[in-house]
Symmetry: D2
Subunit: 255 residues, 4 copies
């Protein structure tokens, strides 16, 4: 079998290095969000980037069992008490484009709109107007706007303010803001949601689109583990019953 290769972690009998830094030094002097950044990007973050990534992880941590990832983790904990990792891992699986992962598509959208502005020599505002018009014409929904629970998502303004404050806000924040305004003008007011804000910040820090899903997962595992612990501590197994209405064929005889 061929060896696997990796540029992330190296170790020998007495040492471990992450991206070249000795793990003990990181444990003593770096923050966990800085190590997340280091593992994904190869270099430590600036203080501003570290602050933003810390905020993103907290914003993603938990939103209660209304979220499919949280509900899934609790449901698995209800049927399988032998494996904590089965419950947490199952919660992860519920993360996709529809839940927790729209950040990935949103980063791709931001990239396309920002590129169109550059390529066509137009403003980001105009490129956003064009993108909204194109989406309407093709009947597509733009990712990153609206939330089924919040009229205003409290995490969004905090993220944008922080990105401006630390000087990271760039084309990402500008583009998502321009799309929000173009949407409001052409369709209706649909505020940027947490996926959209997270996508704008990750874009401005130079992450690839997949980070829109992967870093959400890093944050969310904080909540999933705590929810599973609460389920074990407070609830009996098999407590969860769903009201299913059968609407198929009536009883019949085998041929």
């Amino acid at each position: 079998m061929d060896s696997w290769r990796s540029a992330l972690v190296n170790h020998n009998e007495t040492d471990i290095w992450m991206r070249g830094y000795e793990i003990g030094a990181l444990m003593k002097r770096a923050s966990f969000p800085a190590v997340v950044f280091l593992l994904h990007r190869g270099e430590l973050p600036t203080p501003g980037e570290e602050k933003l990534l810390n905020a993103i992880l907290i914003a993603s941590a938990d939103h209660n069992s209304g979220a499919p990832s949280v509900a899934t983790a609790r449901l698995v904990a209800s049927g399988n008490r032998q494996s904590l990792s089965a419950a947490v891992g199952a919660g992860m699986l519920a993360i996709g484009n529809e839940h927790g992962g729209a950040g990935e598509q949103c980063m791709e959208m931001i990239g396309r709109v920002a590129k169109a502005a550059r390529d066509e020599g137009i403003s980001i505002e105009q490129a956003a107007i064009n993108a909204v018009a194109a989406a309407r014409a093709s009947g597509k929904r733009l990712p990153g706007f609206g939330h089924r629970r919040h009229t205003t998502d409290p995490r969004v303004a905090v993220m944008f303010d922080m990105a401006r404050e630390v000087g990271v806000a760039g084309d990402g924040v500008a583009t998502i803001t321009a799309i929000e305004q173009a949407l409001a003008a052409a369709v209706k007011a649909l505020p940027t949601n947490v996926d959209g804000a997270l996508a704008a910040l990750l874009y401005d820090m130079g992450f690839p689109p997949s980070a829109g899903k992967l870093l959400f997962m890093v944050g969310r595992v904080a909540g999933l583990t705590a929810e599973v612990a609460e389920e074990h501590a407070r609830e009996k197994p098999m407590r969860i019953k769903f009201p299913v209405v059968y609407d198929g064929v009536p009883p019949r005889e085998l041929p």
Copy 2:
């Protein structure tokens, strides 16, 4: 269906609270490890506890594909490129008592030895000697000692030093150290491994044993996400081939 109940997260149309704290305030002023502590324990950590939990999460983050969790995540990424969460979630599933989760059993062992010392009015050192003798008599292996890769695990001394420095080290650190010494005297030198050190620190911070697994998962997701991103970026699907030797019955005819 009965409502679910939870003391972790509350929200309305414009606000989210974690354990009572408004999420925007946490994003601006708390660290992610502090929020992990908050979600699991209900209160924010002291500065010393925050420093320790931060170090624990970094220590757990990654150890390369020699670890089943990391290898699993990369293997799933190799066969299923549609879902990042499937790869990360699968990596989680490899965490059990045998990999990444010995901390849970180790916390239970620490609890038993510390309790025996209190109940029997003997020193922790004597209780440790008794526990080692009992384990030898029943042929059981004590969790938290030895590592298949490291003669000395570089993460262990850092954790113990830090726990003493911030004044958190208590019965947990004392017990694991006493067991290590009793093992060396009665059997052979088997240094405390990262599971054992993590268990001692979590015990001294008042976490329940399940945290030995759950908080390892919170740290490990940093590495799993980065390893999956590296697999997607650098490797082709289906690259991984295992050399399987068949040792079953030879070809035969159906009856």
Copy 3:
């Protein structure tokens, strides 16, 4: 890296053998339940065993979303539409001792009671009475009896009748029946449930206890895949909302 070894499947550039039988011959002349038996046991089943295993797989296939495994699969399908395997795999994870997996513990219980009868030279009936008394004394619940949905589980009598009809019924069926009667005499009428019946039949066919979980999974995947297909076909993503009641601390200021 050491080679892996396996006695299950062998292949070369033009052939595949399962337990020594050429796959084309199996596809043409064997039934899928017979191949499940072959893979697990090394030999093809007798016609009676094949009939029983076929019935066990059908009995395990689906029980609607009231079952955690089914509800989990649908919930993951609701948040992650990119990966069918994530939804089906998550459904699997909900299978544990509490749901779908009690057959494993039940087979261990049957084994203990049958062994006690042999070792102590008493009847299975007496060994069952002793086991019920011991369980009551220690406050333990015996696995395999009672169902939260059914007063009489329609699958149980079919399994027992079939096992007698094909001549497979032995100590397993005798033991579970004796325990049911001892329970009714000492505590209350708690009919054998599908886990208990499945366990008795697998025991009488010579399967190890883990088969009580593993073969349930083989059957259940039929339902999980159909339920996920129905979710994709009939429902919108993110349709599932849980009514969560927050009962934690009220809003408070960060220190």
Copy 4:
């Protein structure tokens, strides 16, 4: 919370019906493959369809640890011995477009080519030639051809012969055969693989493309469960070590 609705399974306190048929009747008189068909399609299969689906499930059951799904299940079993379902579920997660799931894309391709033939009033052979030319022009690989292990996949001819024998072979088999010939003429001989054959048969039986993945999973779980059982029975935990070559930055000091 709104009720869930389903046309698959109904039950009351004493009965269970699958698609209207009483479960005891199915257990006694139907085969497991027929119940798989029933759950997915709403009606029982014809004898020919039942024979084909039985063969498809056997063909998908196992291919040894060279397959990512099997290797994943064994790897998770190596780190997490507490949960059989975690190992089997993880194996499922490795199934995607790249492994075990190409049948889905292949069914979509067959549908497009067959539709083009109808819409344009040309032969399936000509539509296949056009599809191969279009794929070459756009640099895309057509799914369902070639195998990294087999020059001739022994399962393919058996499936095609059986489909013709039972009278199910239609546009699906004709289209995949025509594409294989067009590929051989325009590029090189790349024989239809098991995903392609399975896709042709499922297409001719009227299944939707998602069945190309979902029914492979139903078959594969037979192998995953047997491989996990073998891993537990024959191997020690943590036996699997990967040879990782680190090719990242050398050791360096923290700033």
